[in-house]
Subunit: 345 residues, 4 copies
């Protein structure tokens, strides 16, 4: 039984605890908190009553030294850097659910996050944690940069097509729609029930921090810079991200090429499902699960395509993928704790 710590007590932390409660080789030893020290975690999140009797510890990582095999860092950006540095020195493996180790280019990080990066040496060591793309490197590292929720939904369907050179790289449009848990548990007007319920709006157009993260990874897949537009929207639902992606096909590419490329890439992946012909994803079908569903519709005549992906932003978009990564770096079977279907209806 591996002992892990969770540093942070927000929505991704409780999702980690939910999933790990059904994991038979991993056990949460500590939850480190700033605001809830001494409080039973299940009193903050009563869905855990009977499943966890853990009490929030103060945010002093010294208690982890020698007591944990690994840690999940579920912290606001900037805060993971010194903690990861220290934990790695103590031999504690890290999966960082924040943004601090995702962007390889420090300048981009500093431009978007308005903060100086304190441990640039770790950036090379950190592996971007989409196992379907970087499994081999993840298996060898002790520091995983768990991807953002929007990036996972955009990169998974596009990566094989870019790698195979099937689509044009100059103008990819990613129109994403997210549930409100994506904005976390913090109190702000834009998460107030009455402001969100029964309506939809776009936000952060051209400025959202997941934009450069998506661009970086699509660029790696394509082997060149990719021109893209990313527009996030807020939808009156708790969980889920639907990404509708518009791409132009390279000359001569037909529907079957796209279908074959996606099916081949993901046929053995436990968490990525290319939907049967005629189906398009619905976030309801992946809710609470670690699955990504992908559908597409091709207009061969005009040479363009719509790809649609759905995932649960808290699971495959955050904590589920973090456990998948943690399983890999601890040498546990990759799907442990993650094998449940979506909760629907």
């Amino acid at each position: 039984m591996y002992k892990v710590a969770i540093i942070g007590d927000g929505y991704t932390a409780v999702e980690l605890l939910r999933l790990i409660s059904g994991h038979d080789q991993m056990q949460v030893e500590y939850v480190l908190s700033l605001e809830n020290i001494g409080r039973e975690f299940a009193h903050i999140y009563p869905q855990l009553l009977g499943y966890s009797d853990i009490v929030c510890s103060p945010s002093d990582i010294n208690i982890l030294k020698g007591n944990c095999d690994a840690a999940f860092l579920a912290l606001p950006h900037g805060q993971s850097v010194p903690i990861a540095k220290q934990l790695l020195e103590w031999g504690i493996k890290c999966v960082d659910l924040g943004a601090d180790f995702r962007l390889k280019d420090v300048k981009v990080y500093e431009e978007y996050y308005h903060i100086e990066h304190q441990a640039q040496d770790l950036l090379a060591r950190a592996v971007y944690g989409i196992p379907e793309l970087y499994r081999d490197q993840i298996l060898k590292t002790d520091l995983v940069a768990n991807p953002g929720c929007y990036p996972t939904g955009a990169i998974v369907p596009l990566a094989p097509l870019l790698e195979a050179g099937l689509i044009k790289t100059d103008y990819i449009i990613i129109d994403s729609k997210s549930g409100v848990t994506g904005a976390g548990r913090e109190l702000r007007a834009s998460s107030h029930f009455c402001e969100v319920h029964n309506g939809i709006r776009a936000y952060g157009i051209g400025t959202h921090r997941h934009g450069p993260e998506i661009a970086q990874e699509l660029g790696f897949c394509a082997g060149m810079e990719v021109g893209m537009r990313f527009t996030p929207h807020l939808v009156p639902m708790s969980r889920g991200i639907l990404s509708t992606i518009y791409v132009n096909l390279n000359r001569g590419i037909r529907g079957e090429n796209v279908r074959d490329c996606l099916r081949e890439k993901y046929q053995d992946e436990p968490f990525v499902k290319i939907l049967p012909d005629g189906f398009m994803p619905d976030t309801n079908w992946v809710k609470g699960s670690n699955n990504v569903h992908i559908g597409f519709q091709i207009d061969e005549h005009r040479g363009n395509m719509v790809l649609v992906s759905a995932l649960d932003n808290l699971t495959k978009g955050a904590s589920g993928q973090a456990i998948q990564n943690m399983n890999l770096i601890l040498g546990i079977e990759e799907t442990k704790g993650l094998k449940m279907p979506g909760l629907h209806p």
Copy 2:
């Protein structure tokens, strides 16, 4: 054209502006604010773009002196007392949407609101603003205590039955279900979308401040103290209160007595509808309107009855009723600005 001020800038304030935008004898001259001074009100609430170009004024009531006929006070409890006192001295009539003048018994007020009442002399002058019950007094006063949202939904259906002595007074149960606007625009965990959406819960059992307000008014109707239980619930919807009320009938009272009593009382009221037989209220049918819908089901055999009322907490439960009261005290036709049906679907 009467000139009015709105003191406050929360959800009841914007609802006042929405309704008054269609009122041809009343005009909002000022919105007094603490946090949004100098900001266009329609930039806080863009649904008003094109309907109001009012700019929020500082919360200094001196600007109102001589410039307004009346004011709506939409403030947290305790704050209305000194303001109402001053405005009344200047001859500015007041409708207070807060709780400061609702409870006739200062001790109850101070017990529930944890604050000393600074103008007890005004309590006798204030009329409890349910026009269907207190129209004559409202017409003669210059200070209306606009009722709470839950009390309106409980008192309107019960008042005629208590006045007529049809029901027992020792044990009335009021099980109410409210939308989230009832908790206002303030940021708190209990109004966070993700905490509210897709679930329901009870809150404030035995301690909610609308309890004594309901008890007071039911007592006035019955001419004696009434034993009651009031349980509010939070429902994942924006607006609306449904109150399910359980009463025991006095000996020999039959369904037709109840029906006749309610229909007779409210047949000429523009905003209270006793639903046709076989219909039970739905909050969707009153959304955005000033209507109260009432239905009931009687078990003659066991001598008890379920009454159900529905209203929109921001309209008949707050700002709509406030305008109804304001119309009365200004001598305007009572229904002005309020004659629209519910917005559904």
Copy 3:
């Protein structure tokens, strides 16, 4: 007082009644129904209790002859054709909320609606009912083809830019998100609460009937065929359509050109609001109103732009616009019955 009939009894019919209940020059004389003959309309839609005592008539248009000035046709496609033909012969003006007179090219109509058009001669007479674009023609006609909900949201923001030649016409992407009332009152799995709630999905990609309607109108604005992609989505909300539109700017076009073009076109329009800089539309701000809100964000460097529009699919997207058109063809002031702000929160 003009007398009008409503043919149909679905959601657009009840929205017409809601709006006309506040209209002082128009009165609904008849609602023609197939399934609810003899039933009080307000018993089907109890939000109208106290606002309408109309009883549904059988669907026999002969009763309209000589008894109405005009009719709203709110019927499934194909059914309006013979009815409009007859009513026009009797001198009854028609606003058709269905699709039968929208597409000028009969072949496109027959391809998408799988039905032969029975009155092609009327197509030239029918004016496409976006008053902001076709006001002069509407004033002169007696047959208005009221636009689809998605098309209104796509065409209004794009029309001035295409007319002015500011944007490229080869690849416009329209990613639209609609509330469920857009699918009407019919019972189908895709409108079942449990299938829709708390999730989002795309549907009808490449096949939705509003695609050719949008293409037709954008083509008229551009003076040439326009290449476009239209993807509708279903969002867990009752009303509202948000359209996120991706366009490429013509060489040398800057943000100020776009801003000026849109503002100039719509500055005197009562129902189209170009939002202040820094604001992006939210469907909540237009709910229940006849307004269209438009925002945009330009990337001058890359020469592309995101336009976002919001409207209420039942109001400006259907019944509100129908009343706006009806006001025009009856010679009533265009905004009568339509001057309320959105209902929010």
Copy 4:
């Protein structure tokens, strides 16, 4: 590995498959369907893609003979009777999720379900399937009448108090609020998204079929007939039932008696949680889990109490409890397949 069949293909069927997909001693061999014969079950409910490749069989129970250990009957009322009779003869154990074996009094059954009961001899053999109350009998039977969703939420909190004689039996009020999955997958106006969303209403007052079921069980607990009122409400959420229960305490009963009684009864139960003092249940905390949460608030002065229970109507209110019962009758550990916390947020 036990082989089971599911007869029916609605929401309780898919919930059974979801839960059994994580059960390591039970396997679904057949799903019998009327409307989806030959269709992959995961194509009806794509959340199961990758978790089940079962294809719907025709509704001919002969294929089950000799091929199954047990069956879940998830059918409309009346249809289970002949099927259960036949399966039991073949030695196939049955858990019936319908209503056919719940009511011990055939006259009450026939009055409420308008159907003649075809196998009254089985009624004595059927055990009402709340394991927390009837575990010993369930262990010995081969026919379990799985309770209705509302009854479970009402009976679990009340049973110990009635058995211990702490509360009065003449007037118990049960005000319940359910999500829409409770009405099943059938298409009806009352489950249409636009009719339900953003509103709340009461329904079936005095006529709902779960009323006599609750009365029967409360009567068994009390050892006498119990006077009760049961009012169900429809809430705009997918899953969950909150029951707010009003009872009068017997003379001299104090809060600690109630607390002790409930805690003692349920302290070793895996699925019933008496919440810590100060907490009241929220359906969000039990969503997707087999848990019942119970809270209460006592007014010792007036001698009455409010009890609140929350459960997921599809899990503890239907399929989860059915698996719990099935585990018992098959001799499997009772909690197998059911040990996950609620999915929230």
